[in-house]
Symmetry: C2
């Protein structure tokens, strides 16, 4: 309570003296990056956290967020707010805007849809590898050249984006430190990702890695599919691999990201303490 | 799923042709309003929802939010996202920036602090009435003159802001249609608001009004205090008064607003259906 009030008095006395401005303006910006790997220009939204004096000059962890056009603002707002109240560190948010999400966000080519029928909707599927190359070889170096970043990196996605996050964790476990998969499309390609998990999980180098995965009260087999994966994660008993599964009975496929992304950020930073704080 | 994909394809094909831009940019703006009632200039942050063609020209409900500098972005992000997925209607968010929140956000003058001790911190307290006059006589007419607004108005606040929302509901029940009080400071002034509730609640004209109130796992007596009020609300048995109390065992005083404001918005619009939707 005391802390709350003191900060407001400081801020508001400044506000009187200055022209009106947004104290908590999200410093979002758009960058257009040409990808040679993908042979296309890609938009990314970037939120640079407002750094209080205590944090200025600090290297920033980076959250790479899929479907940036959809979830960037909520994640940026959470991170700005939680950073301000010193619940988490300041984090740079990089929202990757989708162009062909069927292509970029699927691990293999498969025309089989959610209901088990063949659908031409998925004809471009299977681009995960190339998309990971883009992130690793082009986007990460770009971000690291333009911002003062730390080595801690998070990868977060929803639906096909969640599937992509899990595929990345299983096939490129060194690429990120924390993996967040909200309502992942485990169903895709006859549950292809389950077979990858069966093969890779037992020997995965997950030391000090974190994995949050969740599902809402959704149509069909979303939850049962994720529970298959949850069982494999728990069976793997990988030491120092922190993982959390959460179910949201009152949320559907499109509302679940709101509480789930919040819980995921809190999970990743649950043991964080501000080292500048007394 | 289908809906999700179709919208992305439409948006992304536009994105290719245009200069890079934020699809989901929160259109926040700052207005400086001179208040004769308060004899000071007041900043408000305004978020005009992005209107899809289906909603364009529609009159907007207005959310008046206290401590705008603190909670404006999260609320704006929730509302933009939920509106986009047609879970709620588009809503204009008006975040009132605090100057002297001890003055504006307290119902009476009282120097007794949270621990029952006398504190000079509260020497300016007792400005609720004047602050309500500012909102009703100056801010609301300003907003209604500058935006196409509907008659539905929400009032939301946290901590002393939550107390202010409850005091407004009890003393000016016609001012708003929905009242949202997150971790209200029921303790203030020896639980002054409890005595107001005992007196006013049984005869309050709350037809078709909504009230959401919540508390986290907080220090001291926050929860027990709110449970006293909850009992009075339930005893009042006011017809067509929809109210919801929620407890967040894993959230503290400053993190609770994140899940609670989301749940509050969903509660207020739980029966909403888009009348433009087939």
């Amino acid at each position: 309570m005391k802390h709350f009030i003191v900060i407001f008095i400081l801020l508001t006395s400044q506000a009187i003296a200055q022209a009106p401005q947004l104290y908590n303006h999200v410093a979002n910006d758009v960058h257009l990056i040409h990808s040679r790997v993908l042979n296309q220009d890609r938009q990314v939204y970037i939120n640079v956290p407002k750094l209080d004096s205590v944090d200025s000059g600090k290297a920033l962890p980076v959250l790479y967020l899929l479907d940036g056009e959809n979830h960037f603002h909520i994640l940026s707002a959470y991170i700005e707010y939680l950073r301000h109240w010193q619940v988490i560190p300041p984090i740079l948010v990089v929202g990757i805007v989708s162009l062909d999400r069927i292509k970029d966000l699927t691990p293999i080519t498969s025309l089989i849809d959610f209901d088990g029928k063949v659908s031409s909707k998925y004809k471009t599927s299977g681009g995960n590898e190339q998309f990971f190359d883009f992130i690793q070889q082009e986007l990460m170096p770009y971000i690291e050249a333009n911002y003062k970043t730390s080595s801690f990196k998070l990868f977060a996605g929803h639906s096909l984006g969640g599937l992509t996050v899990i595929n990345c964790m299983l096939t490129r476990p060194d690429m990120f430190n924390a993996y967040i998969a909200i309502s992942p499309s485990v169903w895709f390609g006859n549950k292809y990702i389950v077979s990858v998990a069966e093969q890779k999980l037992p020997k995965l180098p997950m030391r000090d890695k974190k994995f949050f995965y969740s599902v809402g009260n959704e149509d069909g087999h979303f939850r049962n599919d994720l529970l298959i994966l949850d069982k494999l994660v728990k069976q793997s008993r990988l030491k120092t691999f922190e993982h959390k599964y959460k179910y949201y009975p009152y949320e559907d496929h499109m509302t679940e990201p709101i509480p789930a992304y919040y819980d995921a950020i809190r999970f990743v930073y649950k043991n964080w303490k501000n080292d500048m704080k007394k």
